[in-house]
């Protein structure tokens, strides 16, 4: 069976190319090269968007918006940074714009949950679900930069220098943001019932 994350289509002859070469191919008019870029990066971009949005529908929209913005701005892509870093930066900006312009969405336990543990009892599952919702609320309550830093560091395990590139700040600033984010998170989780 075909891998769902791999391109289904016409990007023949492009599979072995690097991201940078794919960008070049896009700029030369090969739209199928962009399909391949999407196939390579859609999962990580979607996950970033999901961490901000907290639900599948908005994450899907934001992820599409991210790639559309990337397509429009492909000529402005600075090749000093990796393509993934650039896409993550667009995703973070799109997500922050969307999240800050909308009230927080209602919690959907199915959309955000702790990792599945088949051995747990239903009661344990409920408790874990509630804990997950608490963590999500606490992260959503963080200031934008702190939230972005936690998402990129904790969930995507990006190094500080890459987070700095995504957020347009320094490594020192990222570390400081992370430190304060964790402290705030601890306080917020302690305050919640």
């Amino acid at each position: 069976m075909m891998d769902p994350e791999q391109p289904a289509s016409s990007a023949e002859g492009l599979d072995s190319r690097t991201d940078e070469e794919l960008v070049g191919a896009c700029l030369d008019g090969r739209r199928d090269a962009f399909d391949l870029i999407v196939a390579r990066h859609q999962k990580s971009v979607y996950q970033i968007c999901f961490r901000f949005a907290g639900n599948h529908a908005d994450a899907s929209d934001l992820s599409q918006e991210t790639f559309l913005r990337a397509w429009r701005g492909l000529r402005s892509f600075r090749r000093q940074a990796a393509l993934g870093t650039w896409l993550h930066r667009i995703a973070v900006n799109a997500s922050l714009n969307r999240v800050s312009s909308r009230p927080p969405a209602a919690e959907n336990v199915d959309d955000l949950r702790l990792p599945d543990d088949r051995t747990e009892t239903p009661a344990d599952g409920v408790i874990r679900g509630q804990r997950a919702a608490s963590v999500r609320r606490a992260i959503a309550a963080l200031p934008d930069r702190q939230r972005a830093t936690v998402i990129l560091r904790v969930y995507h395990e990006l190094p500080h220098h890459e987070i700095a590139a995504i957020l347009g700040s320094s490594v020192g600033s990222v570390k400081a943001n992370f430190f304060h984010a964790l402290r705030n998170l601890r306080r917020l989780l302690g305050e919640q019932p």
């Binding site: 289904a8 979607y46 790639f67 559309l68 949950r113 904790v154 400081a176 998170l185 601890r186």
Partner: protein, 193 residues
């Protein structure tokens, strides 16, 4: 440095990148160890919340949707370019038709092919308006239309699409249309008699 760990150093400790001197301090300082332990506990709690994996079909649908959006962008861009080229090409067609008409009207009636060719060689070039053109205004209409055409559009104008002249006429403002009609009517009258 002998004081407690700074926020940056506490983050470095979480990452396992704390320098040996400061690591030695951490080993002997309960306050710092507690502080780092609290940060680590918060990270572990946050890490428990996972992003649910969408169905495998989602990725194909998602990539296809982005591809559609990007194709839409490409079509819009090329449509804009085509509109311009079509306008310029049509304008060129009208200009060429006008020039041919005016030239035919202003050159002597050929009695044979040889005479006609001789007459054509002696006729004025595009850059040198003929002295016997009807008047300055008529020439300026034609010249204005031709002057806005760049190289690509001029090439496109060599093969005007069906109805292109009609479309170009619609793009003329009322003064230009009136002037074109006036010139054509006058030349038609002269030709017929």
């Amino acid at each position: 440095m002998t004081g407690h760990l700074t926020p940056d150093e506490q983050i470095d400790s979480l990452d396992g990148t704390l320098g040996p001197d400061r690591a030695a301090h951490l080993d002997g300082c309960q306050t710092c160890r507690d502080e780092v332990a609290r940060l680590r506990e918060t990270v572990d709690t946050a890490r428990l919340v996972d992003v649910p994996d969408p169905s495998p079909l989602f990725w194909q649908h998602h990539a296809a949707r982005i591809s559609e959006l990007v194709a839409g962008e490409s079509i819009q861009r090329s449509r804009s370019a085509w509109t311009y080229a079509a306008w310029a090409g049509s304008a060129a067609a009208v200009a060429a038709a006008g020039l041919i008409f005016l030239r035919t009207a202003s050159t002597p009636e050929p009695s044979s092919l040889a005479v006609g060719l001789q007459a054509r060689d002696a006729s004025p070039t595009l850059s040198e308006p003929a002295g016997d053109l009807p008047d300055e205004r008529a020439w300026s209409v034609v010249e204005d239309l031709g002057g806005e055409i760049d190289g690509a559009a001029a090439t496109a104008a060599l093969t005007p699409a069906t109805g292109a002249a009609d479309l170009a006429l619609e793009d003329l403002d009322s003064d230009e249309q009136a002037e074109l009609v006036r010139v054509l009517q006058r030349e038609l009258k002269r030709k017929t008699g």
